[in-house]
Symmetry: C2
């Protein structure tokens, strides 16, 4: 019998990848014992031993031979039920459910502490790129200043089609869905929520602070127009959907997800198609860049395998930074420089700009470039979601280039 007997929840694209990867990993000493699915009559694309599939959670939880739960289901509420039940029973879990983890991380940390079981979830953020474990272990010191990156493959794929292949936004979105680069609900990706949840998890391991999803400005790419794309092309920059957490002083940090103008000199400029790229900036090492496939069946499954093996070697997240003296405090009281394009919505009257640096108007479209506080963007969130409005961050370095 294998050392690790896995009870798997979920047999979608990622679940099937896990079955393939684990059965081929001859040195992992792991085996999938039972798989719990929503619909056991569905046809599967992997070979399974008879009787492996069940619709009853108890068939997994009551099997004394199963010593590790792997959870990769799409429904965050059901995932939370399963993962908390496992942890309460002292069973350790490897999970890929970013939404569930980002929403419930404080409770999940508490459950791990109370019941001595562990929860690993490197696959939840940037698929095969080992961001979480490196932030927890390797960048486990006071030098870290910023983590910034393209965390969502499908929105990035769409933006790449638009920029490099001159496709229009609607076609690009359809291609992404057709090729399987978009998640179940495309709005989850293109509205920035996928990036947001990953950013929340990253921030816990980067700075030791948990921030609730509802407290973070999250603005996707749904309203992007040809006008914005041409504007960016004229300036020789790309528009990317960027998630970032940045220390703005010794004691404060900010975080948000929004489109950003990215000049060629930046590492993330070259992160195209369905790829993810993360820049880790620190006091001594300047910028480090990690790049790879962020999603997809096998890349995510390979990351799950890494966590399965790490668990077997006794690895747990220490959440060490949460215990540091003077963990920095989250603030939205920071000045951003933004481009806001609009037609009917009277943006300059409605948004409390600190200063307006540029104005452009024509018979159809207008834009302003101005400085505004992040907290005021959050206040005006509803206005920014009018269909004629689109906001793009202009990071400070943009001025220097």
């Amino acid at each position: 019998m294998a050392d690790i007997n896995v009870g798997l929840f979920g047999l979608g694209v990622v679940g099937e990848g896990i079955v393939k990867v684990i059965s081929n990993a001859k040195n992992a000493n792991a085996e999938i014992k039972r798989i719990c699915v929503k619909d056991s009559s569905k046809k599967r694309n992997v070979e399974l031993k008879p009787g492996m599939i069940t619709q009853q959670r108890e068939d997994i939880f009551n099997d004394p031979e199963i010593n590790l739960i792997v959870e990769v289901i799409n429904d965050p509420d059901a995932a939370y039920e399963i993962v908390s039940e496992a942890l309460k029973k002292g069973l350790s879990v490897v999970s890929g459910s970013k939404t569930m983890i980002a929403r419930h991380l404080p409770e999940l940390i508490e459950l791990q502490r109370k019941h001595g079981a562990s929860l690993l979830y490197d696959a939840s953020s940037c698929g095969s790129i080992p961001v979480i474990r490196n932030l927890e272990e390797y960048y486990d010191n006071d030098l870290l200043l910023e983590v910034k990156g393209i965390l969502n493959g499908s929105s990035n794929f769409i933006l790449s089609r638009v920029f490099d292949h001159n496709e229009n936004y609607e076609n690009a979105l359809q291609t992404a869905i057709d090729l399987g680069f978009a998640e179940t609900d495309p709005s989850f990706d293109i509205e920035g929520f996928d990036s947001l949840y990953k950013l929340i998890i990253i921030t816990v391991h980067a700075l030791g602070v948990y921030v609730k999803p509802s407290d973070i400005f999250t603005y996707g790419i749904t309203h992007i127009s040809d006008f914005d794309i041409n504007f960016a092309k004229e300036k020789r920059v790309k528009i990317k959907l960027v998630a970032q957490v940045v220390k703005i002083s010794e004691s404060r940090f900010t975080m948000f997800v929004m489109p950003e103008f990215v000049p060629k000199s930046r590492y993330i400029y070259s992160v195209d198609d369905e790829y993810n790229g993360v820049v880790i900036r620190g006091e001594c090492y300047d910028r480090q860049f990690m790049f790879g496939k962020g999603a997809g069946s096998l890349p995510t499954a390979s990351s799950i395998l890494s966590d399965v093996v790490a668990h077997h070697h006794g690895y747990k997240y220490g959440y060490k930074k949460m215990g540091y003296k003077d963990t920095p405090v989250y603030t939205t009281d920071v000045l951003l420089k933004v481009y806001v394009r609009f037609s009917d919505t009277p943006i300059p009257d409605l948004l409390p700009f600190h200063s307006i640096l540029e104005r452009y108007s024509s018979q159809t479209l207008n834009y302003v470039v101005g400085e505004i506080k992040l907290k005021d963007l959050i206040e005006c969130d509803k206005i920014l979601r009018n269909p004629d409005v689109f906001v793009i961050n202009i990071p400070r370095f943009f001025e220097d280039n």
Copy 2:
């Protein structure tokens, strides 16, 4: 008193960086207690408490409060003496001495096992990029196929000056030395030995196999000429000094360090100046890319700090892959495609090419492009070091592009 009381060996560029970084790391709970140097009268660029410096190793080894040795000296023989003495006393060590580690890794692993002390050396390979720890822990499975990269900052800096700034080789070398990008002896970098030692360490953690330095083909950039550079520019590729370890089948792998033609489509094409970049290729995740500052005082010191903190949390390298069933076997019986430029040395007569694909001759310079076994390159090593000869690897993908 701090939890970690460090005895530091070496106060060169990296040693001084370590003093700065550790004294600023408020959550690391580490303190440097004593520093052993070769010449205690030398002026230092960091502030030190009186009495910290000594020339006597025993002042560190006999201090009962010191519970961790950090070793960053330049002399590999002295480094080996110090590190083995420490391990034998049960004292754990963090080291940055790649030459020493690459030469003595089997003995050092044995000493760790025998005496229960641990040796961490992530700083020895690619400075601030966490390559070793990720190979050991995260890519700890059967999926890994290849690790390939630019591991030496100074030779890469020189090649960047030559390619992007049209400097000649001699000027570029001098600039590298002037800016401090070259190590004590520049031949160590430009002849490929720095890359070789890093590659040996990487291979132990990537595939679980130790290969002696003398068994590995190592060919630097000393003989590069304007002719080679123009040849590369005409083909729109760069010449980079590349170190690689590649699985060529389930049971066999090869490794070598040599200049390579790199087309624009490859990640390492954009690794310029003093930067390092490593591509990790695996069965499920395709290619992942890690990029950052590979050397320098503070980047290396930040990596040392990561190891110091990891040691404090009980981390040790498990050398797990060395215990895997069917670890792959090192072979040099593989066919490479190479470009060999020459003037007087009759290369086509002397080298046992499997096939010659292209020939060029002129009144001054000639080249051939041919297929040859790696073991025959090793056999003909002396010929290849004639001053009129220069060899460049043409990786298989080069044909595809």
